[in-house]
């Protein structure tokens, strides 16, 4: 069972990388750009048939390791 996890900085936390990438894209001529936020992406493959159980394990992984919850949020999507 596969999951896609996206980790991004929380809404109100400064994202220096996103800020510079956004500014550069604007300088490259993309005038209608609003904002860029940068994050991390994980593909997680679980050897587990019970989807509820797998999902809760992935959530635990996010909370304990993948995301630094002091500054980051995460989103879990089940991939097909």
């Amino acid at each position: 069972m596969k999951f896609a996890v996206t980790v991004t900085l929380k809404k109100d936390v400064l994202d220096p990388q996103g800020k510079v990438v956004g500014q550069t894209l604007k300088n490259m001529g993309i005038k209608n750009l609003n904002q860029v936020r940068q994050g991390k992406f994980f593909e997680i493959d679980m050897n587990e048939k019970d989807s509820a159980k797998a999902e809760s394990q992935v959530k635990e992984m996010c909370e304990k390791l993948l995301a630094n919850q002091i500054i980051e949020d995460f989103k879990i999507n089940k991939a097909e």
């Binding site: 220096p16 990388q17 510079v20 990438v21 550069t24 490259m28 940068q38």
Partner: protein
């Protein structure tokens, strides 16, 4: 000799390299990244630092700046171009050099004195050194782990396009003397015509006896030859 040192927001070895060049009587100009024209120069240096904070990928954003298109066309016409550390990363991101610089194998920033062995002195940059000479230089980087495909690696090895490799005190080039995981212990590479050099170690940091040593001076002296 005339030299130009390119300055990006976040460059921080620009002054260091200018000091080394000026000590050897290079007539040096500092060129701000927003400029659209390069002063006439025999040597263009893309210095170390954290251009644009190293955000996104080291060197990626600097490679899109105004002045870089001038550097690219000068390099293609045969001008001498030296990229040090972040400068090496920028030369790769803009396509003047091939390959990639990955995160250090130890996953940490490394700053320390290391040894490299001169592989070839038949070029503009190392002619003042002896072949097989061991030099003490300093590295300071997060992404210095050079990687390239098999075909390009063969091309580099077969055409003396790798002037320096990491080694130990006895000159052994092996896994133990490799600080960052670079393929074949590569510390720097040339383009095909050997007029463009990218290297992770900082020669400008070893150009003053009272500091850590003078092993880097030979590179600048070679360029004057």
């Amino acid at each position: 000799m005339k030299s130009s040192v390119i300055v990006f927001p976040g460059s921080n070895c620009d002054r260091d390299v200018a000091v080394a060049l000026e000590r050897l009587q290079f007539k040096n100009s500092m060129v701000w990244h927003k400029e659209t024209e390069l002063p006439k120069s025999d040597l263009i240096v893309v210095p170390g630092g954290f251009s644009y904070g190293d955000y996104l990928r080291s060197g990626a954003i600097a490679a899109k700046s105004n002045i870089l298109s001038e550097v690219i066309s000068a390099g293609k016409k045969g001008a001498l171009v030296l990229g040090i550390c972040n400068g090496f990363q920028i030369l790769i991101e803009c396509g003047l050099l091939q390959g990639a610089l990955l995160r250090n194998s130890g996953l940490k920033f490394i700053s320390k004195d290391i040894l490299v062995k001169v592989q070839s002195n038949k070029n503009k940059f190392f002619n003042k050194y002896k072949s097989d000479e061991i030099l003490k230089l300093n590295i300071a980087h997060n992404e210095g782990n050079y990687f390239t495909n098999k075909k390009h690696l063969e091309e580099l090895e077969n055409n003396e396009l790798i002037p320096i490799k990491y080694c130990d005190e006895k000159g052994n080039i092996n896994l133990k003397s490799n600080p960052n995981g670079s393929i074949n212990n590569i510390a720097g590479i040339f383009n095909k015509n050997k007029n463009i050099l990218g290297m992770m170690p900082h020669p400008e940091r070893m150009a003053d006896k009272i500091l850590s040593g003078e092993d880097g001076l030979g590179l600048f002296l070679s360029l004057m030859n």
